[in-house]
Symmetry: D2
């Protein structure tokens, strides 16, 4: 009963099979092979974006930091939610890859930035000067760090404000497929059609081994990304193995199927949790993450029964007053079984 992280999950059998199939003979290195070309084409097709540049990297932090470095010079300001992964969990990688850009933190419930909050933040940082730096980008996470989603209209509204203020738009899509599955919209409708310039598309958390794509809807920036990727240590030599994962992930909409399953499991688990006395679901469960508050005793009973999950935020203590409420995060993945969910609910009931 592991609900600790989608990074704790495994690799889908079809993706393992694709890796095995790719393991034949010699092929050119560094992304000049046919599997890479096929995966890039397939991704462009999925996004209805024949001109997009697509580059693969091994980590989500590299994808985000490289994407932002296309938009933000060292004197730039990137607006993002105060709980954005680029702020809380990437140890200064965006600052490192951009040469010192500043993240401007925008508050908002459920991990979401509202148009009002964005405008307020822009106004508070309105002094675009050599002293204050330049406002250059908006970074949205979709699905958000709190499991919620921006729908196409919401993205369009925020991207419109960004555009009006001269900002480029980045989307951190570490769980983009979960957002897509939740909203049941086309990839294009959640990205370039509503103003997203560069997407970090995460596949690792959703059934791959280690591959993320930087999808650049304006291909003029593609070459710069390639130089930045190499000098950032993120150009994988035996590139076919990145590409093979991505190709199998997209094939037959496996990515969306896995995401839908993970979302459904989270939905099921949340429904059950909500029925338990003393448990509160803190965020609308739109994707594969559940944020809930419960008495510490209940949390501890879950632990004892073998439920693995994180206190969220991490600064809480597992030990202490049994009645005191603690907040936790539970994450479902493509490989979360309904039996896991049932067993977990049974253990807590």
């Amino acid at each position: 009963m592991n609900f600790a992280s989608d990074n704790a999950g495994g690799v889908h059998p079809r993706i393992m099979a694709a890796l095995a199939a790719a393991n034949a003979g010699h092929v050119p290195a560094y992304g000049t092979d046919r599997i890479t070309a096929a995966a890039q084409d397939r991704l462009r097709e999925a996004f209805d974006a024949p001109e997009a540049a697509v580059h693969f990297v091994p980590t989500g932090t590299a994808a985000n930091a490289l994407a932002l470095s296309l938009m933000a010079p060292g004197w730039g300001k990137v607006f993002c939610h105060q709980d954005a992964h680029i702020q809380t969990s990437e140890t200064g990688a965006p600052e490192f890859f951009t040469g010192g850009a500043k993240l401007v933190l925008v508050p908002g419930t459920g991990g979401k930035i509202t148009p009002e909050a964005l405008i307020e933040a822009l106004e508070a940082n309105g002094r675009d000067s050599v002293h204050a730096g330049r406002n250059v980008a908006l970074s949205l996470t979709n699905a958000t760090e709190w499991g919620t989603v921006y729908d196409p209209d919401e993205v369009a509204a925020l991207a419109g404000i960004a555009r009006d203020h001269g900002l480029a738009v980045h989307m951190d899509g570490a769980r983009f497929s979960n957002a897509l599955a939740s909203l049941d919209v086309a990839p294009a409708d959640l990205t370039w059609r509503v103003g997203v310039d560069v997407l970090s598309l995460g596949a690792t958390k959703n059934g791959c081994m280690a591959v993320e794509a930087v999808v650049i809807f304006d291909p003029a920036l593609s070459e710069e990304l390639e130089f930045r990727r190499k000098r950032g240590g993120a150009l994988v030599s035996k590139h076919r193995y990145l590409a093979a994962q991505m190709l199998a992930w997209l094939e037959g909409d496996l990515w969306l199927q896995m995401a839908s399953h993970a979302n459904a499991m989270a939905h099921e688990l949340a429904l059950g949790l909500a029925r338990l006395p003393g448990v509160r679901i803190d965020q609308r469960v739109a994707t594969n993450q559940i944020f809930a508050t419960m008495p510490r005793a209940l949390y501890q009973r879950g632990l004892a029964a073998g439920i693995s999950c994180h206190l969220w935020p991490h600064t809480q203590s597992a030990d202490g007053d049994a009645d005191e409420p603690v907040s936790i995060r539970l994450v479902c993945g493509w490989d979360t079984g309904l039996d896991d969910v049932t067993a977990a609910l049974a253990a807590l009931a």
Copy 2:
């Protein structure tokens, strides 16, 4: 009637004279000359810190960014007030010189961080991990950006919390002499004796032409500063002219006299302003800056009469409803005359 900035002021005649006196013959470059040694000694003496390392740079931004780079690696977090100059007015210089460190913004009235706010910010950023980065430094501005001051006890309390959490303590002293003059305490009592590790000591705003000192109370970091200063483009070749300014500035406590005068003028001006109908003094006037709110019409009358000052924040508009209140900043300097103050008050009365 110029109250726009202490950077708009001139150089004190005694400092000009010192520059002229230094302009004799050939002397070694890059800080190996006798005037530099004398200025360093004199500064150590003023701070009762015989072991301190003292290095001169031409700008306050260089002083701050270099000082922080001794404390913060690229994965470090520096806690500072949300209105700190290093955050609002240095265009990413701290991020650049540290290689990507993150500034964590702490709110607080009057430009001051309280112990409670610091503890709260530390707790919210308590996850010291490879994902979240490391908490490494506290940067305090004294006098603050809002003209207030931290007294020795306040610095000691904050530095104590910093120390308990493993943070080094930086003080941005762009207007340090104004704080000293306001508090009437010894330099040591406001710095190393109360836990400050590195001070950026500003002299430019207070009567010099262009010189700031980085005062490192732990001399072990001195050599690193020297390398960082040079590769940061901040090692002035004809160093005697930096040092001569500093020496004359310290001589006979000229620095404190100039600061006292500037503070007194601000006090006088604030007293007069407070008596005007519709004018509110927004911060306690402890040093040489006044932050006030008044009807736009009054502000405009002042402008028309030749009073030079800035709307603060800059995002306000000079034009608009005459009755609407606007907020302004007025700064006095060593060269603000009592006649300027009187004339300004007369023009507004």
Copy 3:
């Protein structure tokens, strides 16, 4: 008949099997899992270095740049061979990760630095000052970019000079296993016992999919490496899959067996080539790379027959005078068959 690059080769079946075996259930992410611990232990054991810190990254460029960043600040100078991979093929990654360190290029035949050349370079850069920067590290590649090797005595001699001049010693071991197999010495005897401080240990080129280890013999630097790896975007989330490769690679000395095989194939191929009229073997073939010069017509015949290899340097042209000599590189891998070698020689004969 692919001799283009060991990066063009595949993954050894036992490593593929290990990946499949690792793909079971949920395990903690980011290197806190048991497979990672086991692989680290196994590597420490292989190097007879129970205190060493071991960290896995997905690319050789990340391994090298991160390793150097432990030794070289932005004002540091790293001495390396003029043909070192860190100079010729990593697009400024060392400069990026170190914050601007300078590579000092040392000439030498066969890709090797001699003690004399190192001393000469140190003397030419002897001005260790804030103007000239600081001499901080020596980086040796073993096996070298020209397929030759440093034996333990040679490493010891160079590392001794380094030590005497205050330099730390890095070894770029992208093909370290080929060097080990060629020399038939223990890993410790080619690294920490002869003065190497940090090793970039490459596994990808020699039968893995994508994993390299940074082996830090002084564990005090381990924590810094972890922060640098994360903010450099090189911390792979589903870490077990990196570790599983490494574990299988080391298991039963698979790494050495594969390297020996690759070396043997290169030896065989070189012997055959040397017998062909007009062909000159340009470097002693100690490992798995052959550098040869031959008439362009012969090179073209090989191409036509399906032999894949690179002109070396790349700046040569494939087209032109048939009699003119061209220089090429041929690389054998763990998956180069004796039949490939025989067929290639037959095609050229």
Copy 4:
């Protein structure tokens, strides 16, 4: 008898007078004042370049590093002479400000790059790829580090090669006025008319206190320079004092007069030295620097008589065999008197 460095010299009285004159009243800070505008205009006029952007900075290292950062991304290669100041004496500042660009060192006698050597270096670094980086700039020093000069035709030839290979052209003009005076050509004829894109124009060594200009002949890059200057800590607040120096320096061709005088003194000194037994003048003395070789005994006699100069290179020892030759550098400045020259020659005779 100080011939150690032009940085050891003082400030010309007319420039001191200009500083005193500028020290009146309050003026806007950060380069928005009238003196700055006037100095920028005057410089544009001197260079017959009405569109050029002109920015002042306090050090030559900042000028060079900022200028290069407009041309070179972190994956760029900058071609320069192996003895260029940016390579030997700026401690990694170019690498820091560019985010990791690599300097490619071109050999050449007398500190000069020949067209042949440049072409050779470009060919050796011809692999413009994500692995090898991109060739982006040529940096020429004029006058060179060895006191020689490039004439307009030589600059044009090198700049033409640069242009053909896609490189921008930077000129390090720390002693540009000495080159102008030596060649007796117009500033434009040695810069933009022969292909120079950005000039670092040094004034400090030639009679100023601390001011250098970055002259950008393509004004489109001006805004970026302003952001880079501020976040590089090189935007001096009381800007009028930088500008006043520059204005007085240009006024009535004072810069050229001072440079001519320094050149003439060096010429005179070199003539006298050449007549001494055992003395060899190593480089053609075109500007204000002399590089000479003489028996150590003679050098020591000079020292004893009060002649101040540097062993060049610094790695030589002042002590040792009296007959052994040592190489020295002697530098004349605007304030070198003919009596100094005469006295020095008399002391050595």
